[in-house]
């Protein structure tokens, strides 16, 4: 089986059109950001408490749970439910979770005396831990990006290629984040992990393509740069699609059947896989092209100038 025998698409010639697509993505991200009033940071970063309780019988009305919690003197909280599960989130910087836990479970149990409940999960994050985790997340991104720039720059002997590849990743990470905001998913450590994975995955394609361009530059140095790039993209296109497809399949499977714990993670991976391919072909490579062409133009100019100058002498 083969998806297509061989392609001959002019990616470089149409690069501007695809820049527009990227800009459109960014617009969506910004709109999502404004529409949702910024990301919905979870307790991992804000501090607070999350309790997941399961009732023996299905609940008819969530309103009763709400009342019960209000009776426990808890003011700002969110409720989420599916069947007999209820998730309670309070994003306050609580100094101690013990009281909260005790009063809530007592209050709820008092209200539903013949529907025993069980605490399935508790997550409490103190304010100092929230700050610590936020800082750690930023460090992780910073150093991961730096590490990738350095490695790619070293392998391709050009910091320009390194920067182009990392710009592609940043593009993917920001837009994936935009999609998280768009559906108002809670931003927690798992989201950060998923975004870092997207980064790690996205650079994969970029490297494979860059390697091919480098190889073709060596053997076909006489052809013009745009043609070499086009040829390279077309050559690795099938591979890129097949590989992304396999990752996409797994991510989708996790998304649909994986249960709520890895749902968000899978959601980001699904989007990230598509973006990873897109940014490699339509962003990183055209960027390298633009830069290289400009640089060689400047170089030509400089040589001309030098020639003129030496003639004058």
């Amino acid at each position: 089986m083969q998806f297509f025998k061989s392609t001959n698409i002019d990616f470089i010639g149409n690069r501007r059109k695809f820049f527009v697509v990227s800009i459109l993505f960014f617009v969506i991200t910004v709109v999502a950001f404004i529409y949702r009033h910024g990301p919905n940071y979870g307790i991992d970063f804000t501090g607070g408490i999350m309790m997941q309780v399961s009732f023996e019988n299905k609940l008819d009305d969530l309103q009763d749970v709400r009342k019960a919690i209000e009776e426990a003197q808890v003011t700002s909280f969110e409720l989420q439910t599916s069947e007999n599960l209820v998730v309670i989130r309070a994003k306050k910087s609580l100094q101690s979770q013990e009281e909260f836990e005790k009063s809530i479970s007592k209050s709820i149990q008092d209200r539903f005396p013949d529907n025993p409940m069980q605490i399935e999960r508790i997550e409490y994050v103190g304010p100092s831990v929230g700050q610590y985790l936020s800082k750690q997340a930023l460090y992780a991104f910073f150093f991961a990006f730096l590490g990738m720039i350095v490695y790619v720059a070293f392998r391709f002997k050009s910091s320009l290629w390194g920067i182009a590849s990392v710009l592609g990743i940043i593009h993917d990470v920001i837009i994936s984040f935009g999609f998280v905001i768009l559906v108002n998913k809670e931003v927690n450590i798992t989201v950060v992990a998923a975004l870092l994975t997207v980064a790690g995955y996205s650079i994969n394609d970029t490297i494979v393509l860059f390697d091919r361009i480098k190889e073709n530059l060596r053997f076909r140095s006489k052809e013009i740069f745009a043609n070499i790039i086009n040829k390279s993209i077309n050559e690795v296109l099938v591979r890129t699609i097949v590989t992304s497809l396999t990752v996409f399949i797994v991510a989708s499977s996790l998304f649909f059947f994986g249960g709520e714990v890895i749902h968000t993670f899978a959601y980001i991976m699904v989007i990230g896989t598509v973006l990873g391919v897109y940014s490699t072909v339509f962003l990183c490579t055209p960027l390298v092209y633009e830069w290289e062409v400009r640089r060689s133009n400047r170089l030509k100019m400089a040589i001309k100038q030098g020639a003129v100058n030496s003639k004058k002498k």
Partner: protein, 474 residues
Amino acid sequence: MNKINWKLWVTVLLLVLSLWTLWPSISWFMMSKDLKEQAEQSKDSILGKILKLGLDLKGGTHLLLEVDTSRLEENVKAKDAVDRATEIIRNRIDQFGVAEPMIVKQGDRWIVIQLPGIKDPKAAKDLIGKTALLEFRIVNNSQEAGKTLDLLTSKGIKPVQFREDTSKYPEIEAALPEGSSIFEGKGSVYYVLDKALLTGAALTNAKVEFGGQFGQPVVAIEFSKEGGRIFADITEKNREKNLAIVLDGIVQSAPVIRTRIPDGKAVIEGSFNAEDARLLATVLRAGALPAPVKVIEERTVGPSLGDDSIKKGFMSSLIGVIVVFAFMVAYYRTSGLIADIALALNLIILMAVMAYFQFTLTLPGVAGIALTLAMAVDANVLILERIREELATGKTTRVAVDAGYQKVFWTIFDANFTTLIAAVFLFQFGTGPIKGFAVTLSIGLIISMFTAITVTKLIYEFLFKENFLLKIKI
């Protein structure tokens, strides 16, 4: 020929080793629930050999404690205090009886505690969090002390409030006799107490006795030789004065010293019930914390949720992987099958490495395995696509296969290495479950370098050699 043999032996050896390492885990999963519990109770040696499951899969509690080093005595270094606190908490948890707990220091003032499979997180937290700072102080009955207490009560300040920040109440601080402080006893009685003469650190033993005035439980303590000497000295010098026994800043009792007590034994009377007394005795035996600790992060997963997560996580990963396997065969035929064999080998070795090094498998880790396998396909796809290209230029299958492998090695290496960079920082940053993801991703990528390149090449070489197929379908 020799080269093939050599590689073949390495691969077979790895496979056998992996299966051997995984055997305890496989037999564990086949065991009935009762047998598992039995093994856990008897601390069977199999427990150290099976795949370690994270708290999110097994159920349990993760705690992050902060040691409040601001209230240390002057001559104690913060680092030593945190080290000591870690050690003491470990003692306490050992006494509590948790299978395979993890207690480690994190950063300057934090302690991470993981208690897998624990049924009563509340009791564990009580045990861990109890400072159990036991102090012996002489009650100051001077006139100044009386005046200070009057001042305190007239202002409605609690002793705890005062002790927390004495500089807020300068007039009380000025009135207080040198070196003393104010404490609360049972029933809102306030005491002015001189500085601590002896602490719980000087204890050698603590046990529950039912010897109080009304037969209520008390905690009998024994001092060390040195402690006993100091205690004898104190009781000698302060006869007819009250000796306050202060536990965690609350005066438990303040009996009058009648005679010198030379044998280094004393009794803590308080209004304990039997359970309180037992807990106190345990904690005193394990030692007092050098400074108070506070839970600043808790993540508890009940066992039933863990079971559900396991089912869904494994099912979805399995479905994903099976579809990928099927796709590879459908798209690349024989070569796809060879790639699938490599993937299966990757999975087996990955699990074996996890079990052997006792890395923790978490739910994101399971997802990580599925994703790693999907990414590991990449190496094979790269090779196979390259072989197709080489074939298209008219080379024979054999030459095309060789060229394919040769040309893409560095591409595969680069691609995997950069993903590894991300995984390493993910490991650095992540908490438990995420760390599990980073671990499976990293190991999987490294192993895939071996399985996707060496193992598949080996299979091709074998096929060519045996002339099974001169023209393989790629």
